[in-house]
């Protein structure tokens, strides 16, 4: 993992630190992450990161913001590819879990605000709002097509939001993986069945 470089100046240290940090989380878990270790993996001295980030939480926040951008792209694509609004809602949920599989390092920091909440990175505070906006619009589309209860969309928005975060939290923290093995299934398959359950409950509900 430790990188070497030809010249005294690194060249692209900022991006290299972001990448090294994500790789470290994915390889050894978020408990193994320290700024000194990330710098070591990137092949620079412990003080070098401070020329690119004001402090440790700013680096984590930058990764979290990057993750929210990647997540939003995935959610939008999933929503747009769905033929109906209620399928779009399920597709958003599945895309969230798929994102967790593809970018677990990013997601770990997104889920741990005590690490990635940095006053130095103001956009981190609003990084997730666009996804909530997309979710809200999709729920409203469901209401228009009759596949969600009329009225305030907020309870369903919050429920799907919490459901997505809950599934990926259980997955990344371990218990879901263990339970799936025990039950002879996989987190992806279980997510698909949860999605199907959600869609059937919405589509098949009484007036």
């Amino acid at each position: 993992m430790p990188q070497t470089r030809a010249s005294y100046h690194h060249g692209g240290l900022r991006d290299a630190l972001l990448a090294a940090c994500v790789a470290l989380i994915e390889a050894e878990g978020i408990g193994a992450v320290s700024l000194r270790r990330v710098a070591r993996d990137a092949g620079v001295s412990p003080g070098a990161p401070y020329h690119h980030f004001p402090d440790r939480s700013a680096l984590f926040a930058a990764i979290a913001v990057q993750g929210h951008q990647l997540l939003l792209e995935r959610l939008r694509a999933a929503r747009e590819a769905a033929p109906t609004a209620v399928r779009g809602l399920g597709a958003i949920l599945e895309a969230y879990v798929a994102f967790a599989r593809e970018h677990p390092g990013h997601l770990h920091l997104m889920l741990r605000s005590e690490l990635s909440a940095s006053p130095q990175v103001p956009e981190a505070a609003h990084a997730g709002e666009a996804a909530i906006q997309l979710l809200t619009e999709t729920v409203q589309d469901c209401q228009r097509e009759g596949s969600a209860p009329a009225g305030d969309p907020e309870p369903l928005v919050a429920a799907v939001w919490a459901l997505a975060i809950g599934i990926v939290t259980l997955w990344l923290d371990g218990p879901l993986e263990g339970r799936c093995v025990q039950l002879g299934t996989t987190p992806e398959a279980l997510t698909a069945r949860i999605t199907a359950l959600l869609e059937s409950l919405l589509a098949g509900r009484a007036a």
Copy 2:
């Protein structure tokens, strides 16, 4: 916060450390927690905790186990007080969120496995299984009374489990509180509406 004591021996240091740690998390957040700080708050030297816990994660694990016991009591009481199975399912969800409000310090450690997963405390690995068991039985009761789809209960079990964890994660991490303020509601009220939505979707679904 720093305790003083009359004698050289503390007397009940183990419990005092657990309490000081929980109080510290609730007062200054989990980012402010260190074993030295907990020992300082309890009025002992930095090495004293090592006579009661093999390492830092064992202390955190003990708190997590304690929390799971408190949580299980609350969930059981909520389930038993409910008149029907589907109401019991909703009551479990609301009780989970109520627990988060009453014991946020415990819950923070329960949700962060990288801190509280200790091989020294083997019961920590199975601390949450009784709650899942209760949830599974309740879903099966719902199936018997016709308020849940027949077949494998697992998707609904996992969905309610994830929903609970998602809501409390969003709450403790901040975004839910902010969004509720913005929408003119409270996390408890929103949880009640999510619960009502869940129950109505289950009870009002088509065959």
